[in-house]
């Protein structure tokens, strides 16, 4: 190479370097520019709200010039991985998926940077009108010690689904009235729920709505695979019957041997008679699929899951014959009317992230009404995701597109007489449901009595809580 050629090459390289380091287009104004930033998030597979967030986040990141890298795990693996990465001081993540049971734990561990803390420290980049926090679903469920941890990913909790054709059939109504002495209607108490579950449990060949059944039919179905599936179904009964969710929050003492807890377990075990074989090992998807196939009269389940399966015209034989309502109440239990788990998961900022500003702006933008509407219409045309924006639920276009939306808003979200609750917020919560879930499962399988099951659960829980230092 001659000196002249070498000089030309250096000049070209310097020009390229100057262009690369030059500031962006001034006409872009104050719009954030995250070109070259790649954000990583781990999401649970099989969760519709995770799909919704992924789509919204990718779109948001693209608009901001960044890239999203999304990795999928099972929800248990994701929880463990995030915890292990955090303990190892691994800054691999930018956005983390938090469940209602892990949010407080992670905030106290320092795994997440609360959104409220970030907003306070970076107020210049926060767009309050875009954020519209008051329009989001139950942010109080993700607020601990005054710190708002993350953006909710979906709305609605647990509801009761029932077959309108069965409940409205004149033959069935007359037979029920004759047998039980009161009118057949969606149950308002758990005693009524039990009666109706019993009433509709029939063998192949027996009549249902005047026609012989081609297969066994069941009054209800629960996903009772231990420990998580079983627990998330059972906990609604536990709270409705007046018991604490594992422990007394005031004293941190386990209370699973309380009279209310034992009554709840007894009731839940009795419901086993009206459920299909295999319910002891069912996941919620399986249970909902049985309902969608037309084999079950009533089901207590998370509303969002049922929109994906039972109310979905492409997946359900009974989508046009199914309605929903609030959960029953337990007579004599004050303050727990229609007790239901409020559900909800969230996405938050990983405390060790090196791209918190970009991550926050992606979260803020992906939670906007406009992006959520886009994702809902494009990715969930037949349901499956209930967006956490209340204004979207009120949108007439959305209500017309999704027939269940208006009723869900009025009858589930805005109704004031529902006792919505969240799950326990101690690090030992998963261990606790593993312990109690196994004992309830034994009772369901007939291995032990509900009383003995809860006595053993209480003993094991006390040992766990002692090791954790909550009690002596």
């Amino acid at each position: 190479m001659t000196r002249k050629q070498f000089g030309t090459l250096i000049a070209v390289l310097l020009v390229m370097l100057a262009l690369a380091l030059a500031p962006g287009d001034a006409s872009a104004g104050a719009a954030p520019d995250f070109r070259g930033v790649t954000l990583r998030v781990g999401l649970p597979s099989g969760y519709d709200e995770a799909v919704a967030f992924r789509e919204a986040a990718i779109e948001a990141a693209t608009r901001l010039g960044a890239k999203m890298e999304v990795l999928s795990f099972t929800v248990d693996q994701l929880h463990d991985k995030l915890l292990l990465d955090f303990q190892a001081k691994n800054p691999a993540w930018d956005i983390v998926f938090v469940t209602t049971t892990s949010a407080a734990e992670w905030m106290r561990l320092g795994l997440v940077t609360p959104i409220s803390t970030f907003m306070k420290e970076n107020s210049a980049i926060v767009d309050e009108t875009v954020l519209a926090k008051d329009d989001l679903y139950r942010t109080e469920d993700f607020t601990f010690d005054g710190n708002w941890v993350g953006f909710p990913t979906y709305s609605t909790g647990v509801a009761l689904f029932w077959r309108t054709d069965l409940f409205n059939d004149p033959t069935e109504k007359a037979a029920f009235q004759k047998k039980y002495g009161y009118a057949l209607k969606p149950p308002e108490t758990y005693a009524e729920f039990r009666d109706m579950a019993e009433f509709f449990t029939r063998k192949k060949g027996e009549p249902l709505m005047g026609k012989p059944l081609e297969a066994d039919f069941y009054g209800t179905v629960h996903s009772n695979k231990p420990p998580s599936f079983l627990w998330y179904d059972f906990v609604n009964y536990l709270v409705a019957f007046g018991a604490n969710d594992i422990y007394d929050p005031a004293t941190k003492r386990p209370t699973m041997n309380s009279r209310a807890a034992i009554e709840a377990v007894k009731y839940y075990v009795e419901l086993g008679k009206f459920q299909p074989p295999g319910q002891l090992n069912m996941s919620s998807g399986e249970a909902a699929s049985l309902f969608a196939a037309g084999h079950v009269a009533m089901q207590v389940e998370y509303f969002q899951r049922m929109t994906a399966i039972v109310l979905n015209p492409t997946k359900s034989k009974v989508h046009d014959r199914t309605d929903f309502t609030v959960l029953p109440s337990q007579k004599g239990v004050a303050g727990r009317t229609h007790a239901a788990h409020a559900g909800g998961n969230a996405v938050a900022l990983y405390s060790l992230s090196k791209n918190k500003t970009a991550a926050y702006k992606v979260l803020e933008l992906s939670a906007t009404r406009e992006l959520q509407k886009k994702v809902l219409l494009e990715k969930f045309p037949n349901g499956g995701w209930v967006p956490p924006r209340m204004s979207l639920m009120r949108d007439p276009e959305m209500q017309s597109r999704y027939p269940w939306m208006k009723r869900a808003l009025n009858d589930l979200l805005l109704r004031k007489d529902i006792y919505y609750f969240q799950l326990g917020q101690i690090p030992e919560y998963f261990a606790s449901i593993d312990i109690v879930g196994a004992q309830i499962h034994k009772a369901l399988a007939g291995q032990t009595s509900p009383e003995a099951a809860m006595a053993q659960a209480q003993t094991d829980l006390e040992a766990l809580f002692k090791r954790a230092g909550y009690i002596k």
């Binding site: 248990d76 295999g278 002891l280 998963f430 593993d434 196994a438 499962h441 369901l444 291995q447």
Partner: protein, 291 residues
């Protein structure tokens, strides 16, 4: 040429050995040492505190932990029953197939398919087979007049049902070993016995079985070591239920580590299970290698 290796040859020897040594140290020995150390510590990662040395407290706790004892019992029963069934069936299949017939290679190939199926797939397949609403096995039993059985929902049938799935998956392994063992038996010995008037049973009992004994015992111990660690199939099919009637030691270790987050206690469990597996391996090394 000199009698021993040259210095240059020795250097090359260690250089070639280095990758395997590095692999063993990094992926086997160091994790084992770390696990052993962790078994002497109290460490719950959910609480954020670092590991705290507590000596043998975890092992003392194991001694009095009925859940651990029950899990080891489940693993032991699973190991014994599954291994016995797989050995008997595997050897029987090998005897059946060890004669020339049309399509022999194809049959041998088909028999090996379960062995190359992933344990998760095996668990899922058998979960569906046993399903109360759509399972073919359940349907068949119902048609035979025994009613709809909840195989995985009953403490009487759940563990045998899982064992059956394992037997389906791993009998081909024993079959393969037994078949190669049979094919290693000199035909002249068998022929000589037949010429001397030995019946098929006597040939089997006095010639084939003694010559195959080493292979059978080796296959049994290899299968036993693997069966003791059973996890995937149980996790998929029952999650350890009903109650804890199918919770194996490996599943309990998983739950202790990743549900209870008690890494130290889980490490102690691992060390105990490792000791049991090592004992089995010790028996394996005592098996005569000749056929």
């Amino acid at each position: 040429m000199t009698g021993g290796r040259s210095i240059r040859g020795e250097g090359a020897f260690w250089l070639l050995l280095l990758p395997m040594v590095a692999y063993l140290v990094i992926w086997r020995i160091l994790p084992l040492l770390y696990t052993a150390w962790l078994s002497l510590a109290d460490w719950n990662i959910g609480r954020g505190a670092p590991p705290r040395f507590i000596g043998i407290e975890n092992y003392l706790r194991l001694l009095g932990d009925p859940r651990f004892h029950a899990a080891v019992k489940v693993s032991a029963i699973f190991m014994l029953v599954a291994t016995a069934a797989e050995v008997v069936l595997g050897v029987a299949l090998a005897l059946l197939v060890n004669r020339p017939f049309r399509g022999q290679t194809i049959v041998q190939g088909i028999l090996l398919v379960p062995m190359i199926t992933s344990p998760v797939a095996v668990g899922t397949i058998w979960y569906i087979l046993y399903n109360g609403k759509i399972g073919p096995l359940t349907y068949l039993v119902d048609r035979l007049g025994f009613g709809v059985q909840d195989w995985l929902g009953s403490t009487l049938t759940a563990l045998p049902a899982i064992i059956l799935a394992d037997v389906w998956e791993w009998t081909p392994f024993v079959f393969l070993l037994a078949l190669s063992g049979l094919q290693g038996i000199p035909e002249t010995v068998v022929e000589a016995a037949r010429i001397d008037g030995a019946s098929a049973w006597k040939v089997w009992w006095y010639i084939t079985l003694p010559l195959l004994r080493g292979v059978i015992v080796a296959a049994a111990i290899l299968r036993a070591m693997d069966a003791l660690k059973i996890f995937d199939t149980i996790f998929i099919m029952t999650g350890g239920g009903p109650g804890r009637s199918t919770e194996s030691a490996s599943l309990l270790v998983y739950r202790t580590a990743f549900t209870h987050f008690e890494f130290g206690y889980a490490a102690a469990m691992i060390m105990v299970v490792l000791a049991l597996t090592t004992l089995l391996y010790w028996f394996y090394t005592r098996v005569p290698q000749e056929v």
